[in-house]
Symmetry: C2
Subunit: 188 residues, 2 copies
């Protein structure tokens, strides 16, 4: 394999190992075996499984994600929930992210990286949606983007990752949209 191909094979193997066994049980040996490379090929690139995971997370950074621009707060929130419901059904979100959140309490580096790569990107997108709604007069000046993130993403995350009762229907996403928009207006 070319050097770059080895790197990519290792990254793919880390991802599969994380989803299959979780951070706590994952080993460099298991990653090397799954990638079809020797342990030294892994250690030449990353000093530990922690640095491997942090590198992988950074590659998933959602910075620069375009914000929806449907022309209404309701349309924008519905579009965000559509994207989020797909993302939360992906193995990264449904298995790897909750696992890393648990590890984050024991490893401050993981907590910081999760925050920087995942939460900051989402917060930026929601801030743009709120800004556009303020500009259109749908929300008052000073509407809080952090509250908006909690109200938009929170119920869906809870249902998909905690309660885990299957894929959300379009009607469910419509309901969450209606509720989030009503909630945001009520806080104004």
């Amino acid at each position: 394999m070319l050097r770059e191909d080895v790197t990519e094979a290792i990254r793919a193997a880390v991802f599969e190992e994380l989803a299959a066994v979780g951070f706590a049980r994952m080993s460099i040996e298991g990653i090397a075996r799954r990638a079809g490379v020797g342990k030294t090929a892994v250690y030449r690139r990353w000093k530990s499984k922690l640095s491997l995971v942090l590198d992988l997370l950074t590659a998933f950074a959602v910075k620069g994600l375009p914000a929806p621009a449907t022309g209404s707060l309701h349309g924008d929130v519905r579009a965000l929930l559509e994207v989020a419901s797909h993302a939360l059904r992906h193995p990264v979100a449904s298995q790897v992210i909750p696992d890393l959140l648990v590890e984050a309490a024991r490893h401050p580096e993981i907590a910081e990286t999760v925050r920087a790569t995942l939460l900051d990107g989402q917060r930026g997108v929601v801030a743009q949606v709120v800004r556009a709604a303020v500009d259109r007069g749908e929300l008052p000046e000073g509407a809080d983007a952090d509250r908006a993130l909690d109200l938009i993403v929170g119920p869906l995350y809870w249902r998909l990752v905690v309660v885990r009762d299957g894929a959300p229907t379009a009607a469910y996403l419509d309901d969450l949209t209606t509720a989030a928009v009503a909630g945001l207006r009520a806080l104004a």
Copy 2:
């Protein structure tokens, strides 16, 4: 130690081990050491760490929890959020539950037990609050208790367990109450 004291010492040790190292890394050896008993004392009572954890979870069942009855939907939701914000800052919720939710994807028995002991209890309390609001005419007949659970608990869980930026202020809980009530009314 008396037989019952040994059982209680083991249960306490399981809880501490779960919070400290997580389900994946937890071992019967570590539990026995922390409890100050021999490994056979553990194996005599439970056949595996999985059965130990299921037993511990069942003991935490919230069934029969009284629903708040403040006389208004806003008051009841605010009371639920107060209780939930305390519960979610307890190590069981902030560390053990998310860890077990991750394991639940690999162990169906854990998924079923988490659902039966934790979610069903919460759902029952929220259903009572919704029922009382319908009886008072604050929500229309047919208001959905599952949606209500998502809208009330979801944003707080997301903020406290995922974003993890510290204890919620009273003003934050007031905002979530206002938003959840507005959302529930908008769905009617």
